[in-house]
Symmetry: C2
């Protein structure tokens, strides 16, 4: 990648958002302090329909792995997937320590437990503990978000300091932790669970991620220990004696909740008189799936309670007033807004302006910013195009031509053409088959059409013909024939054999 | 289709929603009055991601075309695509008259103008004009919705009457038409256009559908005539002297608005100081695309005005109070809620209950209901599974196995395998190629793996082998080999030749 080398410049400081600014998810940032680089977070984002068949993408980590720069460390701010979810896909390539607090480590360690000595790559640090490097130090600052023990990062240098917020909100009446440490998910679970115990209800937990969250919270003594019943026993109890905690409220297909809604879950059947509470916010893009879930539960006769009806969701992110309160407290001299899409960043800048924060930079992922820590005159000096790489079967895919092919097949189908010719270029076998092609048709007619044009063309160039020219010819003639007959351009897989 | 014949029963009345109840879009209904059938509307819906690569679906019209029932007529309530959009795909198969009012006809006639004498299939009727059949009559009742001249249908029979609402809302202060006829789209355009003319602005209209709507409205004298400028002249004017009316606000890819947002439109370039107004509601499922649009315009520096900031959208559908007002006026003895998903229908029933409408039926598309027009004891007697058929290149596709294939390719890719054997079943050529497959791999290694297992199997069954058995074998061995190596199950296209 061009000019990445300049991050080794021993005179300057830089900030490069690899992912996470101007978008939702994929948080991954690089700071360089006079040639010493540090990575903050390594998250994933959910793929949209521009990546057909792909669920997860990751901002290209080869920006900081196997390149001309050698980061000194990585810091994880908190354990949400959009901040740490990428790590497991390039963990083996990391040759620098990963700093985080105890909860973040406990929450994510299961990802690595097949790897020998994986713990040795982690350094657990306390709140406010100062970790020193040559040109800078950092401290994790406890903050407030919808997971336990999230942190911001305070970087100190001789020239000036940086506060990297991470994800945060303000809550002065936390249910778990100290007054500056609120975690709505675990806190919400704590509230639900303690009420269930008080009312003598049996508790079932369905879904791997939520079981893990609860077990980590119990392990870290954030919620009291209790018995999670095996879901096979669910039908043994009267439903008014039962609390079921379940993942899948974003409408994820094949989640437990999806199966329950479709009445196809093996153990758990819900019906009229049962209540279901949707306590999480709808993430943009999931509206249709969530609507499908709610309609299905309604069809089963359930009573649905969601934040349209009741106050059951608390956001993990700050509102306008919280941002104002926070900046009035921090009093930054300059500001680069993080988290969210372009519109969010612009609104963030409007708030900064209203607070008389004079020096601001609106960056997007891939924008390399030279930091002037003395005068705060940061400036954009270069724009990199940083790819979002698809993750398939737990592997990061760098060569993404398959995406383009899938996109074409999605709308046009794929046709496989097999042509066997003798040495005189007479066709002795011609086979066509297809997948994902919408029309039924007489393959022999299409074959004859292709054959006629092809033989005619071969006749004209017989002297110069060879296998490669033949493949090109078959490709061109087949493509035109399908387009002429069906107004579609199927992807072609062509095999030619000269026998 | 089973039991469809019973709709010919000369003693009973029936209602069958073919599409449109329990879903958004695809409005298509069948009434049978003592053996006389009538179709109401013939709409499309937008395909969701269960139909990869398909934009439009249509509730299976072969329920009423080419079957044992012979409808006497079709009635169109209004010209929105979810009520009339299917018609063009089976217009040639319709051998009964289509009734609608003048505006609906004017608005949709362009769809058929390549067909000789297409007008002869249409019968234009006036508001309240009674059209008589043997066992029933109907009248179009002018109503109120976001398109000009929408109608409900009043069916009269000797035993009792039915009011089929169509889409509607109440507006007592209409901008166009008589006090019961409001059309927010055209009315909104009228307001915008007359203001533009008053302030001496040049008017550009971009997008085929909106140009057609405006031209129809001018033709039907619903808005005053004005000059629509050619978009090639857009850059000739100062932008503060220009009004641009544009389609694509739902984030439709490749629409004019999409191109303008991406700054790739040939004629129209917008920039800082320009204002853009989003005056339409976000249709569920489009949130992410619309958000992309707004972010892109924000990135270009435009000032964005939408209903989050200003009152710029008016819904074309009724709220709770309007429904109450409407039913208090109509005073139905029984009610079958239409339009919308299951949750909407249930809320609709709650309103009916609060108004003491005692007899209600909650039907879904495919539910056949026997109507008791005397005592209003309607009852569900049969449930049909009515497919949503994909429309591809303007053709209705009945055989939909390609959908399943596309779904598999989307997640696994497709592999084409070509195997040439001699008469002794020795492999003399083996080729593999793929599309949409995410991993790069050494094809020879995979070929050798398949070859080894295959030859071993052939050895064991050599006596009984033939081409079909061979294809099955290759399919099985290849499938397992790909799954073992990549944990993926690509679709396979296999060609075997015995030379």
């Amino acid at each position: 990648m061009k000019n990445l080398e300049l991050l080794n410049n021993k005179k300057n400081n830089y900030f490069l958002p690899i992912g996470g600014i101007g978008e939702i998810g994929g948080n991954n940032y690089l700071y360089s302090f006079k040639g010493e680089q540090i990575i903050v977070d390594g998250g994933i984002s959910f793929a949209d329909d521009s990546l057909p068949g792909v669920d997860i993408t990751i901002p290209d980590p080869y920006i900081f792995l196997n390149t001309s720069i050698k980061p000194k460390a990585m810091i994880l701010t908190h354990a949400h997937e959009d901040h740490v979810g990428g790590l497991e896909y390039y963990f083996d390539k990391i040759d620098f320590p990963i700093y985080c607090n105890q909860f973040t480590f406990s929450y994510i360690k299961h990802k690595f437990n097949k790897i020998n000595d994986f713990e040795k790559k982690f350094v657990i640090v306390e709140d406010f503990q100062e970790v020193e490097f040559e040109n800078f130090s950092f401290q994790l600052i406890p903050t407030t978000h919808s997971i336990p023990d999230p942190t911001g990062i305070f970087f100190k240098t001789l020239e000036g300091n940086i506060y990297h917020t991470g994800d945060w909100k303000i809550d002065k009446n936390p249910v778990t932790g100290s007054p500056t440490c609120f975690s709505s998910n675990i806190a919400r679970l704590k509230t639900i669970i303690s009420n269930a115990i008080k009312h003598d209800k049996k508790i079932f937990v369905v879904g791997r991620s939520i079981k893990r969250a609860i077990n980590t919270a119990i392990e870290e003594k954030l919620i009291e220990n209790f018995e999670i019943l095996n879901e096979k026993k669910f039908q043994d109890y009267n439903k008014d004696k039962v609390l079921l905690i379940c993942t899948g409220s974003q409408g994820e297909k094949n989640s437990a909740l999806w199966k329950i809604a479709n009445n196809t879950h093996n153990q758990i059947k819900l019906s009229a008189k049962d209540n279901i509470i949707f306590s999480s916010k709808e993430i943009p893009g999931n509206e249709k799936s969530i609507s499908y879930l709610k309609n299905s539960f309604s069809y089963l006769g359930l009573n649905i309670i969601s934040d349209e009806e009741e106050f059951v969701h608390v956001s993990g992110h700050p509102g306008k007033n919280e941002i104002k309160e926070f900046y009035s407290f921090i009093q930054p001299k300059s500001l680069i807004p993080m988290h969210g899409e372009y519109l969010h960043l612009k609104k963030h800048l409007e708030i900064a302006k209203s607070l008389k924060i004079e020096k601001t930079n609106l960056l997007l992922s891939g924008d390399l910013c030279q930091l002037d820590l003395v005068n705060k005159n940061h400036k954009l000096i270069e724009q990199f195009v940083i790819k979002k790489l698809p993750v398939v079967q737990n592997l990061i895919i760098e060569e993404d031509s398959f995406i383009n092919e899938r996109g074409k097949i999605l709308h046009n189908g794929v046709v496989s053409i097999n042509l066997i010719l003798n040495k005189q270029f007479d066709i002795i076998k011609f086979q066509i088959s297809d997948k994902g092609f919408p029309f039924s048709y007489n393959k022999e007619i299409i074959q004859d059409e292709i054959k006629d044009i092809l033989l005619n063309k071969i006749l004209f160039i017989k002297e110069e013909i060879n296998e490669n020219i033949l493949i090109e010819l078959v490709d061109e003639v087949s493509r035109k024939t399908y387009n002429r007959n069906f107004s579609l351009k199927p992807e072609l897989l062509i095999h030619i054999s000269l026998i």
